[in-house]
Amino acid sequence: MDGVAGQRNAAVKVVISRVSGGGIVEYLGLGRVGLRHLALPLLLAPALAGCEGALSALDPAGPAAQSIAGVWWVMLTGSLVILAAMMGLVLWPFFKRHRPVEVPEKLWLWVGALGFPLIVLAALLAWGLPSGQSMLADRDGQVYTVEAQAAQWEWTFGYPDTEEVTQGVLHIPAGEPVDIAITSADVIHGFWVPRLAGKIDAIPGTTNTLRIFAPEPGIYEGMCAEFCGLEHATMRFSVVAHPQDEYENVLTAELNAEARP
């Protein structure tokens, strides 16, 4: 058990440093160290148990989902603190002990209303923008790339060097980044595998590319995230990540199985 977890951690570490590209993330202490060691234990370790789920973005299995879940816990903590402070300020004047005070207007507004939010927001952006950029798919196309085509109301996946496709199940190799070239045959759909990464729309006439990374073999559930008509609710799919050495064989077998109806 320990071994597996350890392996998984190691993989995630490698990936995170790859994905976040270092720099600002570490600098702000929001990288893996910050997230792991500060925010998570601080916050609701018990609640985390309730976050498990096949479609839960709070139960991340890939680096992108991981870092987003991390920043969510940080933002949640910050928000609760800010909310409590603001409500304290709002409610305080209603208490009997309150005496009317002339708040120094300039100082109050400059510091409270301008200074404080600007600093917090700048910090968020300084983390968010580079981190978002690091989650994008590569430009140079070195990465293993599969195709996903959405249509009302199912997903079809195509692979390099073959005409065969799989329906409803996407097979990828575990432990390496995979780019998914996503498009649609009819209306706009959305490709989302919450435990691995954020979502991107499948738009007719356009191809959008999403980077996913499954460090561990396993089944990761996905769904159509953009409303697409009658059967939108059930337009699901799965991503199956296979160990790298088995991937080729499994894929061939699966493609053959699909071809034979």
Binding site: L129, P130, Q133, R139
Partner: protein, 119 residues
């Protein structure tokens, strides 16, 4: 020396929106030029380690920021001459809005300084 005082007029209210009009122009310019640049392949050309695309974006960004900042000086001069009812409030507000607009221009365009362009 600041010329004659005069009553503040309805047309002076443009100073309440001038700064942010520059912001809007700058924002649209940066957003639009980025789309056009990536489509037209300005990414490839360039010099001194900067792509043509980024040079254009930087120019639009810094240009509009400078323009917004430049509004401040005529505003202060002109607004100093306003008098009559509302003059003080409109002056104060116009100056605050104009400064806020400069900060906004600097803030919203800042990503051109450090993000990759066409990805």
């Amino acid at each position: 020396m600041t010329g004659q005082s005069r009553r503040v007029r309805g047309t002076d209210l443009v100073w309440l929106v001038a700064g942010f009009t520059v912001w809007a122009a700058g924002f649209s310019a940066v957003y639009g030029l980025h789309a056009v640049g990536c489509r037209a392949g300005w990414e490839e050309a360039g010099f001194a380690g900067l792509s043509a695309n980024r040079i254009v974006l930087l120019a639009a960004y810094l240009g509009h920021s400078a323009l917004g900042a430049a509004l401040y000086f005529p505003l202060v001069r002109i607004a100093a001459r306003w008098e009559g009812l509302s003059a003080r409030t409109i002056r104060q507000t116009a100056i605050m809005v104009t400064l806020a607009a400069v900060i906004s221009t600097l803030w919203t365009g800042a990503p051109v300084l450090f993000l990759e362009t066409c990805r």
